[in-house]
Each structure stands twice: as structure tokens, then as C-alpha cells.
Symmetry: C2
Subunit: 157 residues, 2 copies
Amino acid sequence: MDTVTIDGRTYRFDRAAREDVPTLVALLRDDVLGAGCEKSQVAPYDAAFALVDADPAHHLLAMRREDGQVVGTLQATVLPGLSRGGATRLLIEAVRVDRSERGSGLGSAMFEWAHAWGRARGATLAQLTTDTSRTDAQRFYERLGYEATHTGMKRPI
Amino acid sequence: MDTVTIDGRTYRFDRAAREDVPTLVALLRDDVLGAGCEKSQVAPYDAAFALVDADPAHHLLAMRREDGQVVGTLQATVLPGLSRGGATRLLIEAVRVDRSERGSGLGSAMFEWAHAWGRARGATLAQLTTDTSRTDAQRFYERLGYEATHTGMKRPI
């Protein structure tokens, strides 16, 4: 699956390149929670991109519209482990769809792509966490078949 | 930090070896939820162990008592990513402490070790999910400074 066509518009499932980083950061920042978490300097993002890009366990997805603009992103990671019968998990982080594209089905297409990417690498279970205040996001994930079985906990270290 | 002494007993923070896998699986299985998730065959666990052990992004901890018995485990993973200013996360999975050792402070010691392991690899945020039915576990994580800010969602793929 290299492209998807929605309402006559074609989008390409690209692996993000370094020159996409500013656009990806703008997508992360254009969000009620992300606005407070993201920085104005570029250097930490370039460094983080280099770490993600260097490890084949990760795939930073850049959904590219026909005009070249990146309008969606997520980070997919395969996570091996002993539990659940030695199951490999697909971890999804940092999901964003450009405001102009929401409700179009692009987010669902990105998840279908991510599930296929994970399955091709042996994953049998997908997992993600979403801020409890994101009730719209939770409904979206439930429509995709996700169940809210777990409590997600974080702390600075 | 190679060892910790609690109530006069010393425990060693070992990286799990392949010969520890059966004991680690027994710890995973000896649990109200784990009992239904774990298999009787050994082969899938050996294969999963090989994947975890081969990648320096993961550390499968085996807490070894002075008598050689492994009585605690968790899997620590460093996860780079663009969000939160390009923050590297420490992901904690598959936490178990042997029934005979619960309430002793061993679990807290394992988390202190994991946080230090993550910080040494650049992580600034720790995250985990716990089944919502595990209210005791959630209280334990809250005592360690974790906040239940997120909803953890999963689906088979």
C-alpha cells in the first residue's frame, strides 16, 4: 500500500525525511495539548528524527498530498516482549491529521497502513495511549476497533 | 546500581539471560490476568527473548535473590520520538514481582533502577499502561510519582 485515494484525492504513505521535520512539528504543535508541549527550536527535533530514522523498529509516517504537503503523521514502532505468549506489539505514538483533512477518512487510512506495517513485522497487538481529555480521539480509536482496557500513566524522570 | 539490599537481603539487577526465560514466564503466568494470556509452549518465549535481547533499546530486568532465584522482572525500552520537544521516553512493560516478595520494596527498587537506566539513555519521561482492573498496581505507580493522565487502548491486528 503506497497510496490511498479518498474523494478523488490521492495521498502517499511516505517514510518521513529530514526535510519534513518542520512540517511534522507544526502538525504536533497545532493541537490543544501539543501547543504547550512543543518547543520553538528545531535542533532537538532534528536529533530526535535522526534516532527514529536510524532504527528499523520505528517508522515515522508522513502522509503526503498530491501538492506535496504533509497532512498527517504517526510514529509506528514494533515492540517485542515476553508477555502474552511472546507477542510483538505495534505501538502507535504522535498521531496528527491536519485540520483541513479531518473527518475525511485519512486518519483511518493511516491506521490501516500502520496495522499492515506492524503485521508484516510480526506484531499481533496494537496499542496506544490518548490523553483522557481527548474524548473525540477515543471515539475515533473505538471506531477502529480499539478498546479502552488500560490506564496510561506517565511521570517525568 | 548493581545490587539493592532490603531488610538485610541482597538482590542483583541482572540483565535476563536465556536460561531465565522459564522463570520469567512463570512470573508472568502467576497473575490473575496473566494466567489467561500465557502459553504452555516455550518456543515463542525463546523467540521473543532473542528479539528483546538483540536490541540495545530494550533491557529485560531479572531481579536475582542471593539464592539465585529470579523474583522480579520488567522490560524497559527507550523510545525516541518527535513529540514533547523531541523527548525520548522510557517505556515499562511486563512488570511482575514474585508473591513471596510483594510489599517488601523490591518493586520500588526495580522502578528506581529502570528510571536510572532510562535517564542514562536520554529518556526524560517514563510511561506505562496497566489494566484498569489492577487498582492495587495503579496505587503503587501513583506512590512512585506516576499520574493516570491517559487512556490505554489496544486491539488485535
